[in-house]
Structures are given as C-alpha cells and as structure tokens.
C-alpha cells in the first residue's frame, strides 16, 4: 500500500547522462605524477567520417561495384523480431549463399546491415554504433513496416518510427514480417542499386552527418558515446 508513495518522481530537468566509466578522473602514474584521464578523448577517436569518392575510372568502378554486389557480407546482428527469418534464408531451403550473401560476425568485415524489424531506442544506439563501425561502402536493408513507419509499434514510447531519420537506408522490404523470399528479393534490389552505382549511402551519411547526429541525439537521451564510432 505504501509502494506508490515510494516511487521516486523523476526530476523534470533534462539530465545529461554520464557513464561513470567514461567520467574524467585523476590518475596517479607509477612515478607518482598525477594527471587527468578523459576517457571520451583518450579512449575514442574523435575524427568525423569522410566522403570517399568512387573510383575515378568508370570501368573500374563498375567492376568493383559488380564485385561488391556479388559479395554481400551481412552483419549478423538480430535487431528485431525479423531476425528469425535470417536462419531459413541461409539454410538449404533458400540458401542465400548462392547469391554471394554470407553472414559475418563482425561489423568490420560486413557490408550489409539488416535491420530486421522494430528498433527500440536502446537497440538503435547499438545499431548506430555498429553501422558506423562498418567500413565504407556499406548498405542497410530494412525489413518490415516497423522500420518504415513504426508498424504496430507506431505509438510506442520506446521504439522509433522511421529508420531513415537515423541511418540511411538503401532498400526496404515491406511486410510484417517479410518472408525469406521477400528478403531475397530485397537483396536482388540492393544488388541492382549497387551495380548501378546508386548505393552510396555511406557517403550520404558522411555528408549529412550533422543532421543524422542531431536526429539520433534527439531520441537517444543517454548519449554516452563519441559522435562517430570508429
């Protein structure tokens, strides 16, 4: 009965969240000298992303784009409920390996980020981080209505409605959830875009970095990472 009373009212003032591990601190070196360690500066690179121009020779760029299109390495990160569809995609029934699609466990080696459905704000933070860690060129394949307009979570307090407000999306696959066939179609669409040289969203992200960042920070209150996660 007294439980209600004990619930603390969150303060109305906007609080900047600070991760205690990344707080500035004074440290004593082995020779006794004291100095300040600022983890956000000392642990993380603060460089901004740059635009990487495509190869100036069109034939070469075309060839490279073909290679990129035929070798799509997917970041294995089940962001939403749709990740359940990734399994069938890679197993005998649909066997996406045929099309050069292959899962990779690390963003550093991946080219395609599959956003498989709704994104909670908490997940969005991780998605942004992983997306930024992928090397240019990189592509985003968004699955399901949730990534387009919020879908059934359109009025949720905790999920985002439009993914392309936060990271650029190359191809949407509609459905709730889209089946693996639809996913394969999405991959094909993506391949077409890449081959046509239209999948330069990594550069778009770099160009419109401030806009994306502002959008991201608007929704992620506890922003406790560097602006760009290398």
């Amino acid at each position: 009965m007294s439980e209600e009373k004990n619930i603390e009212q969150p303060s109305k003032q906007a609080k900047t969240f600070e991760n205690p591990y990344y707080a500035k601190r004074e440290v004593t070196g082995p020779d006794g000298q004291k100095f300040i360690v600022d983890p956000m500066k000392d642990y993380f690179s603060d460089e901004c992303p740059t635009v990487h121009e495509p190869n100036s020779i069109p034939v070469v760029e075309k060839f490279l784009n073909w290679a990129r299109a035929e070798s799509l390495w997917v970041l294995g990160f089940g962001t939403g409920c749709g990740s359940i569809e990734i399994g069938p995609l890679l197993t005998p029934r649909f066997d996406a390996f045929r099309y050069g699609v292959m899962p990779r466990p690390t963003p550093r080696q991946s080219n395609v980020f599959i956003i498989s459905g709704y994104l909670a704000v908490k997940t969005l933070k991780r998605v942004i981080r992983s997306y930024e860690q992928m090397p240019n060129p990189k592509y985003v394949l968004a699955l399901g209505s949730c990534t387009i307009n919020g879908g059934m979570y359109y009025d949720s307090y905790n999920t985002i409605n439009r993914l392309d407000q936060y990271i650029p999306v190359d191809a949407y696959v509609a459905g709730c959830m889209p089946r693996p066939e639809a996913l394969l179609a999405g991959f094909n669409k993506l391949k077409e875009l890449i081959k046509a040289g239209k999948a330069e969203n990594a550069n778009e992200y770099a160009k419109n970095f401030d806009w994306y960042k502002a959008n991201q920070k608007k929704i992620i209150k506890d922003w406790n990472m560097p602006d760009y996660n290398w």
Binding site: Y22, Q33, F35, P39, V127
Partner: protein, 1041 residues
Amino acid sequence: MISPIHIITIGLGVAFALGFVNKKAKNFSATIMLVAIGLMGAISVAWLTALLQGAETVQIFTAGFKPPYSINLMMGIHEAFLTTLINVAGLLGGLYLLQSLKNAGNHAIMVFLVFIMGLNVIIMTRDAFNLFVFMEVVSIATAGLIILTETGKSIQAGFKYMLATGIIAGILLLGIIFAYYFSGTLNIDSLAEANITTLKGGSVAVLMILVSIILELKPFPANGWALDVYEASNPGISAMLSAASATALYFVLFKVLAIANENWYHILTVAGMLTFIGSNLLGIKQNKARRLLGYSSVGQMGLLMAILGLKPILGDKLEFIAATILVSHYLAKAGLFWLAGIVENDNIKNWSALRRKPILLVLFGTFLFVLIGFPPFPSFYGKWELIMQLSSNQHYYVLALILLGSFLEGIYLFRWLGYAIKMDFETLPELNINWNKIIPPVLFGVLVYVAGYFTSALVPELSALNYIPLLFIAGIYFIDSLPAYIKNTVAIIGMSIYGYQILPPLYENDMLRFIFAAIFIGGGILTLTAGYAYKGKRSGFYPVALLMYAGLAYIIQATNTLEFFFGWELMTAGSYFLIIRGKKSMPHGLSYMLFSIAGAYAILAGFGLSFAGTGTYNLSSLAGISSNITIIFSLLAIGFMTKTASLGLHIWLPGAHAEAESDVSPMVSAILLKAGVFGLLLLIINMGHNTETAQIGYILGWLGALTALVGNLAAAFQEDAKRLLAYSSIAQLGYILFALAMMSHLGLLTAMYYSINHFLYKAILFLTIGAVVMRVGTHMMYKMGGLIKNMPLAFIAVLIGIIALSGVPPLSGFGGKWLLYNAILAKGWYLQGAMVLFSGIIAFLYLFKLIYSVFLGQMKDNLRHVKDISIWFAIPVYILIIGIMIISAKPEWVLQPLGDMISQWYPNAALAWNGGLATGPYGYWNGNGIMITVGIMFVSLATWLWMMSRKAVQVKQFNIVYSAEAPQRPETTHISYNIYAGYNKALGWIVAPKITAFWDTMTEWIHSLAQYVRQLYSGNGQLYAIYVLAYIVVVYFTMIF
C-alpha cells in the same frame, strides 16, 4: 729473548698486585690489565717471530729439575702461535669488556687477567697435573667472570657450567693420577713414551684423561651446559670462551693425544663428526643469535676434533688444515660474539639493526663467509685440503658427513645473513656503539682478510692467482660513498682494462675460454652500462657485482681445480649478494645460496675424487681419470647443474631472477648461468670420451629435455614478466644441457651456439623488461598493456628478442633449431629430441604472452604517460641487437670458428661450409640467403600494403567492435591474466610444483628432526651432568668393544 715463563709471571704478578690497587681506581686497574696482556702478547709474538726465523724450540724447567721431577713448559712454534692468538684475543676482548669489567670492579679485572694467563699456561705446559690445575683455574675464572658480569640468566648457565666442568675436572684428575700410578710420571711426553695404553688399567687412565678433554671441547650431546653459557653470558665473555678457551683446549687435546693409541683417533673422529652434524642440525631450528653462535661454535670444535682424529690420514697436512680452520673459527666467532654484544638483540630476525652501520654488516657477512669457508679466507683452504686428503685416502663417509655438516651450517648462517640484509630495521632501536666495542671486531675483520692472504701464499696451487681484481674490488668498496655513476664508470673502465688484457691472448690460444670470457666481460660491461640509469649511491652494489665478475674471470683463467673452485666460490658469493639486493629476494637469496653451496660441495667432492685418482690438481688431468669416473662425473655435473638450474635443482632460479633488480637480472640470467655451462663443457671435453660418462650423458639428455619442457610450460603460466623470463632461462639451459649431453660435435656446437644466443637475447629481454618494470612499477603483465605507443624502443627490442629466442627464421635462433635437429638425428636421440623441439614450440606461448600483455592490447590509465625505457638500458640493448643481427645474417662467422674449436675434442661430423651455406649430415641451411629472401619479401609486401592503406584513420584503444557496445575499462578489456587457461587445464599437471613441494618436505623433515633432537637440551643442569657421565660411559663401552 724473554723467557716464556714471564708470560705467567706477568699475568699472575699483575693479577695479585691488582689486589693492592685502590678499589676505586678502576681505570687504572683496567689499563694495567690491558698493558699486562699486551706484554704477554708481546712475549708470544716475539717468540713467534723468532721461531719462524728458525730459532729452536725451548723447554723451561720451573724448579731447575728435569721432568718428571718438575713442571716444565714448552715454547715451540705451536705454542708461540696459539699464545699469540690467545693474548690478542685477550687484549681485544679485554678492551671490549672494559665497561663491564670496570662495573664489576677490580675483582673482575683480576679474574680476567688470570683467565688469560691460565689459557697461556694450558697451552705451554707439558705437565699433566699442571694442565689440570690451570684448566681448573680457567674454569673457575670463567665462572667468576660469569658471576661478576652477571646478565640475567647467566647465573643459571654458570651453575650448569660449574657442575659439568667440575665433574669433568674430577674425571680428568682421576685419569691423571692413574696415569701417574702406572707410569710414574706426570710429564705428557714421558707419559706418551711410557705407552700405558698397553696396560689394562692404563687404558682406563687414558680414557679418563681423553674423555674429559673431549668433554671440555663440548661434544654433542653432552654440551648443554656450554650452550647455555654461550647464550646467556656477556657476549664479550662468550667471545673469549669460543675463541680463546676453545683454542687452548683444542691444543690440549692435540698434546694429550700423544698418550693415546690409534683407537682414540676413531673415537675422536666419530665424536667430532657427531658434534659437527648434531649441533649444526640444531642450529637450523634456532633463532636466538647467541645460542645459534654457540651451536656453530660447538660444531666448529667438533669439526676440529674430527680433524684431529683424522691425524693418521692427514699426516703432515694436519697442521695446515687444523690451523686454518682454527684461526678462521677463532677470528669469526670472536667477531660474531662481539657483534652480538653490539646488536644487543638476541632475535636473529632483528639483526637487521646492523644496517644502521653498514661497516658492521660487512663485518657480519665477512665472518659468516669465513665460517662457511669461502675464499679468500683461511678456512676455504683448510676445507679444500681436508677434502682432498680425505678423498685421496678413500674416507668417503667422513667426507660426505663433513660436507653435510657444512651444508647444515650454511642453512642457518645464510638465513641469518638474509635477515640481517633484508629485514626491516627502521623500527629497531639505534645501536649504542662505544669505541672500545667497535675496535675489536673491526680489527678481527681486517685480520681475517690478512690471514686469508697469507694462507693463500702457503698454497702452491694458487701461486699464479691474480690478486688485482680483488684489490680493485676492495678499492671500489672504499669509494662506496661516491655517487653511482662515478663507481659505474670506474667499474666499466676496470672491466674493460681487464678484458683488454685477457681477451687477446685467449683468442690466440684458447677459443673456448675466449668465448666465455667475452660473454662474461662483454656482457658485464653492457649490463653495467645500464647501471647509469640508477640515481644516488647504490651502496654496496659495485663491490658485489664486480666480485661476481671476478669470480667468473677466475673460473675462466683457472688452470687447476683449486683456482677453479676459488673462482666458483667468489662468483657464488658475489651473485648471492647481487640477488639478495632485490626487494623481496630474501627467501630466494637463501635458496640460491643453499643450492649453490650444495652444488659447490658436490664439485668439491668431485675434485677431491679426481685428485685421488690422478694426484694432481690440474684441470686437464680430469681427462686422465681412470677410476670412479661415474661418480666424479656425476658429482661435478650435479654441481654445475645447480648453476644451470636443471630440473630438480632449479627452484631457486625463478624467484632469484625475478626479484632481482632490473640490471641484475640479466647479469644473473644471461651471464651467470653460463658459468655452469662452462663447467659442464670443461667436464665433457675432458671426460666425455668414456663409456661410463656416455651413459650419464644419456640421463643428462633426458634431464635436459625435461627441464626444457617444464621450464617452458611453467613460463607460459606466469603472470610476472620477470618470472616468465626466469623460467624461460631454465628451459633454455635445458636445451643447452641436452645438447651438451649428446657429447658429439654437433651437440657441442649446438650448445655453444645456444649459449651465445641465449646470452644475447636473454640479456636483451631481461634488460628491456627490467627497464619497463622500472618505468611502470610492477612485474605483473596484466597490469601493463598497450605500451607500444609509449615505448617503441622497448617494443622493437623485445620483438627482436622473442623472434630470436623462438627460433623463427630469419633471426639467429633458427640456427640453433637447425643444428639441434641435425644433432638429434645424428645422435639418434629421437624421443628426447622431439620433447626438446616440442618445448621449443611451447616457447611461443610465453613469448606471445610477454610481448602482447606488455606492449599490445589495452593501455591502462595510470601508464598513459610513462616514458620510453631509460637510454642507459636502451644502449646496451641495441648493441646486443646488432650482435643478434650479425649472427643472424652471417652465422658462419660464429659457427665456423666454433666448429674448428670443437673439432679438437670431437672430430667434425660432416658439417661443411660453403660461404653462407651450411651442409650438415641431414640438411642444409643458408642463413645469409634466408635473411635476404625474407627481408626483400617482407619489405615489398609491407610497401604494397602501405600503398593500399596509407589513408587509414588512426583510431584509439576503445575503437573496437565490441558486440555493438563500447568497452568500459581497459583493465577488463585487456585479456592477459591466465590466458592459457585451456592449456593449463590440459597440461598444467606437468608443472604442478612437485619439485618445490619435494624440497619443502625435505626442509620440513630437517626442521622436525632438529626440533625433535633439540629436546635433549631440556634446560635442566642436572640432566646435563648426567649426559656428561653417560658420555663417559658410552665412550668407555665403545673402547671395550
């Protein structure tokens, strides 16, 4: 020349005259006493010089009659020498006791004078009854001194003493009177002529006389009364008892032995050895300083008694042996008891108080080393000669027991030294030092060196010894108060000059010695260069470091076994002090020393046996041994293997090397261990051609392989960087032992190549890691990480070091592996060889861990601003790296001369050189070409990749993919602690510390045994009296049967 009788007249006269002096004029009395003792001493010194110059021994007949009708005194060389000792001790002891004597009053001063006079007479008299009388006089005087200068418990001790000596004296008197009854004379010489042991009753008389004198020498276990006195009385008096009384009584035994038959020699030997071992065993459990000294004192007298018992064997060497050991004991024990009086703290753990006055610590160390018998002290020569004589006469049991007893003695003495050097002393009270207390020990400290010098002059085998290094060390000691960089410069210059003198001739004549000398001296200079990184005075470092190098140089230059052993012991002493300088080195220093002593004794025994076999000390005579080859080889090999830290004898190494200072670790690892290798090489080139040694070689091969395996595995599981390198050294020496044990051309070549290489890369690694440790202030690798950014110089050095160590082409380590393969196949040691090669691969585990945990991975906050390693460490490191590079690119420059050298002993087994291409019995290898090929390929690939990724964004430590998260702390992100957990789960059982556990159990047993045995000394004076009587009975029955 003044008649010796005036020693007595002065003593007695002044003592009586002091009775008339005003009781208050204590200063006057004391001065008179000292003057009197001085005069007595002057007479004995005068006689000593005269006799040394060839004067005749004189006899003094007191009443004008010849014996047996009068008491006669003798002044020969023995007497003159011993009375000199006693009077010097008396003079200094009197000086030391000045305050106590004055406080006790004129009586005490008189008694002290009578005590010294009595001892003089005991030595000089040739009359049995007179002997008894003066022994009683001394005994009463002792008791008087105890009661007059009473300190707490000394009264009880004095009573026990009186009771026991009273009984002993009674027995002695009975014996004398019976002897008189049977022979009609009291003169010892006439008694000896009368040969009364042949009579039934006569032998009882002799028994009573001898057994009582033996009892006066405090044989175990009938010596509780003496121990109590040593412990409880004024240390000045204990010093007198231990130095002067014991000396005099020992001479009594020497004199009286003339009347005994040869059975008594056995009794003496047995009694002596029993005492030596028994009291040294009990000393281990003792932590009261003065009682410990008592045990040691009793033990030394036991040894001397045994030596006397060995008279028939030792022959004319007896005097030399007995005199050296006696003098050492005399000087050291008096000095130690005096120091005990200065420290005024009876717990040996509190002797660190000595560090308040470093000179006292030096004295303390000196005296302890004298007792153990280290060079250059007299006891060293005595023990050497004793062992040589024993083994030439096949008295192996006695030999073994003497070495065992000495080892037991070493345990407690070095533990004590360790406490003094390492325990905290700030909490202890200031020392209260008077001038009169400090002069005697200092003088004795100087005397012990002088005595050592003169003793060495008596040893013909050491005539070629070069004393300049030792003098140089003494010189360094005297400038110890200067800043470190000056001493460092002096030391480097000294070593360079020495190297300049000895290296060129060695290069011409003796390649083997040249190589090791180059490692020792060159390595010495390089490691000393690192010493510039140290600020301040670095007190005491340079003398001991140079002592080690001097020992190594002596080993190199030794032509006979004595010189070799001399150098070996000096090196051991120096390295002990170097090792124990480390912060937490106390237990490791002790275990190092104990293994070293045990190893040195094995070497001593081996040399003894070889001397018995060949009759010469010449080192090359080892080749001519025809009997006992197996034992000699094994003993010497075990001795040398304590230095190379082979499995089973290795437990001292990790701690000792890890805890040593940054520039000491390379000294003791890269350089010192090579002394053992040098010894083994000498052994193998001289004795390796026998079938017996080949069999031992087989065992050694397996041992080497096991050492390599266990060493490397253990290294992989270490978290302490220096400990890791220490285990790595064990393993590397395992390879060397394995290769040496093959006793083939390729085996020796491999071993030599490994030795040179190990010197280079282990010096690099230890110096660099040591320098890193100096910067970061921890040994623990998991507390470091990411240091490559701050310490590129160190990183490159370690990288090259580990590539060379691991045997990855193109650096020099690969040559070793290649040779090893060929040697293994040529020798046919396939399985052992596979084990060695396997352990070589395990090396990758720890090498990776070393470089990764320290330099790569995540940087820690507190190390964010550390600087690169000190330039003084970097210089020697990079010089060594140049060396590695040269050997890697041009292996033939090293291997060809080595091969030529080894061909002297083992003909070349088809290792042919064609430029840089070596063709062995099984394969071929072109170090030069590989270096070029790999170099070109590496550089072009590096350039290519650089072209592709030249625009790379430089990111920081937390810019890693981390499952879409960011790491929170470097400490938890740096994977270093126990990274080989899986490997440990699979193979950790191999390196479970079974050997350490074994030695721990041994130690525990010895302690339990000592604890059990020492309950004999219940503290009850009556019981002690019973022991005395029982001892007589036992000896009696022994004589009957």
